[in-house]
């Protein structure tokens, strides 16, 4: 039995010593990890958790919105799950302000030292942790099919100007320059990297966090729209509405040279026997922007009163933050651990880059988790409307600024 525990042994020991479960509880957890790679990662967490003597009751709901809808309806119905996948930051605070979350400080004594400040700050309500971060995913990654790049005779671009300049050469060789799935949640990664490109981290902050009217109508913004307009010509006609994984297939199979997508795309490389960082080059884009836009997989703890359920929550929080669980989980999901002190061996080259960026404080929490959802939503709507229209950059910029202004 002990040998079976393998790498998870320390997880169990850690959990046992810190929480000493008096009651063996059951944690019913709502999450949206329903596919193969996600489930493999989730199993690491579930197995480690069940070794603490608690029971995991799985409640998967495909699709983040649907899962959040279910969670919210359950809370309104007076039957909250023990824990649920929920983003950090503003969405979490909205729940906490309604008194719908429990704090887990009893299990989080040293988390301030273990987590990057941006995550710690956004996982706390009134100074107390209300969620446990499982892993983080970077968004503004540029991926390049190395074989295609070699064939064209170019290196990975560092800036948007370089990327656009290389497009003609790529097309001349019969490749599609940029694989893009034309759905707004995918397109926003491209747009954000352009914002970093034209004005750096400060500009990205002003536009996407502050929704600053002056920034939204600035010369930098016009430049961003001019670049974004060129994206229309970088993609193939099949782009609109295409799923991200089918789009990823175009990069992997060498139909397209580049793709901008979050690092979960690595799961597709591995499935196709491609090595991230070697067969598929990776780069936080634009290079030198000192900004890795990221989102968090975290489990919020609902306001359950039952002592056994409380214990189950604390044990879950402890398990999630266990360094071995964090490592094994991220290895399978293609993410990186939020804990900065996790052993880095075994991670691929791209994950190493991401962990380096995190250590240097370049993390930038995804605007969805910071900004008023209606405001950033209006921005996203206008971004995607612009891309799928013939609007000029000037028109696009004005329409976006006006739409955002109307939400105030």
């Amino acid at each position: 039995m002990l040998t079976k525990l393998g790498v998870l042994g320390s997880a169990m020991a850690f959990a046992l010593t810190t929480t000493t479960p008096v009651f063996a509880g059951t944690a019913e957890v709502i999450h949206w990890w329903t596919t193969g790679g996600e489930a493999a990662a989730l199993k690491i967490l579930v197995e480690a958790y069940e070794k603490t003597g608690n029971t995991w009751k799985d409640n998967p709901v495909a699709g983040g919105e649907a899962a959040r809808m279910v969670a919210r309806t359950r809370i309104l119905g007076g039957d909250p799950p023990t824990s649920m996948q929920w983003q950090v930051g503003a969405p979490l605070m909205a729940l906490a302000e309604e008194g719908q979350l429990n704090d887990i400080d009893a299990a989080a004594k040293d988390w301030d030292k273990l987590l990057p400040k941006v995550i710690a700050d956004n996982a706390k309500f009134e100074g107390k942790y209300v969620t446990a971060p499982m892993s983080i995913h970077g968004h503004n990654w540029l991926w390049g099919n190395q074989a295609v790049l070699d064939d064209v005779g170019i290196a990975m671009p560092k800036t948007w100007d370089e990327l656009i300049a290389s497009a003609d050469k790529i097309r001349a060789k019969g490749y599609i320059p940029l694989a893009l799935g034309g759905q707004s949640w995918q397109e926003i990664f491209v747009f954000e990297s352009i914002l970093i490109d034209v004005g750096g981290r400060d500009f990205l902050t002003k536009v996407t966090y502050d929704l600053d009217d002056a920034a939204l109508r600035s010369p930098e913004m016009l430049k961003a729209f001019q670049t974004f307009a060129k994206v229309r010509d970088l993609v193939d006609p099949g782009s609109p509405s295409r799923d991200w994984n089918i789009t990823g297939g175009m990069l992997i199979s060498g139909k397209a040279a580049y793709m901008i997508m979050g690092d979960w795309l690595k799961g597709e490389f591995v499935a196709a026997n491609k090595v991230p960082g070697k067969d598929i080059a990776c780069e936080v884009f634009p290079a030198g922007g000192k900004t890795l836009v990221f989102g968090t997989d975290a489990f919020a703890m609902t306001a359950v009163k039952d002592p056994a359920a409380r214990e189950a929550q604390l044990a879950l929080a402890t398990t999630i933050m266990d360094p071995v669980v964090q490592k094994e989980f991220s290895l399978r999901k293609g993410s990186i651990p939020p804990r900065l002190d996790v052993d880095k061996t075994g991670f691929d080259a791209c994950a190493q880059i991401a962990m380096g960026e995190a250590a240097e404080g370049h993390l930038f929490l995804v605007p969805d988790n910071v900004t008023d959802a209606t405001g950033i939503g209006a921005l996203v709507d206008q971004m995607t409307t612009f891309l799928h229209s013939n609007m000029t950059p000037e028109e696009g910029m004005t329409a976006m600024a006006d739409a955002v202004a109307a939400t105030r």
Binding site: E65, M69, R72, E98, H388, S389
Partner: protein, 290 residues
Amino acid sequence: MRRFLQRHVSQIALSPSLALIAIFLYGFIAYTAAVSTTNSKAFPRFDNFVGLEQYWRLFHTPRWHVAFTNMFLFGGLFLLVTISLGLVIAILIDQRIRAESFFRSIVMYPMAMSFVVTGIIWQWLLNPTLGIEVMVHQLGFTSFRLDWLTNPDTVIWALVVAAFWQGCGLVMALFLAGLRGIDEDIWKAAAVDGIPAWRVYVFIVIPMLAPVFLTVVVLLSLSIVRAFDLVVALTNGGPGVSSDLPSVFMFDMAFRRTNLGLSAASAVVMLCTVLAILIPYLYAETRERA
């Protein structure tokens, strides 16, 4: 007491249903209207009254205008296509054909499919790298393009075709039943006078089907209001926001943008619009019969 019971027995029999409907439909509509005057975010709360601010915000949201216009575009096209083709197919099947039950079943089976499944199927079919386009290419017509799903100007047709595929069977069955109920003598009289069949249909038979139109319009309008599943499965509102519908907008505002107030305002506007169109129609039609 007994006489009272006897006299009012139908009201008494109806009253439990009416009470439930009063609460679960009208009560909740009122509740939604109340939420729309608040600044509710993730959860409904009534301590933050903002008057009509959400409505002002709604009418200044470009995406709402797209969704609202699409409701008329999609609804109009869907009603037009489904009613006219449903009627034509019913007339074709009514020509004393062989294997009638076979054709009837084929047109009707999609009704058994949910909008989710319908959306998924048509997404596969209209997908340029997977579906009909590939098939036509394999037949040798390599310049053929079917870009309904990827072209913002035509994406609404993808929704119309899928919804038509699912809903036509019901409409056909309703019209077929109506045609079967029409007196045979009309046809005999028309034959004697030498009136061509199409004229009999246009000027005599179709006007006689008027009551069927009420049922058809009500049922199809319900599909339009509830087309949420179809849009999410087929286009997810894209490309851009070009195939957005009020129900999708409402869901997004409530559950992705966590702005219940705005979501409720859009629901109220949509409900009022639909009822403004339907109530006069309902009123006129029920009047003739009752």
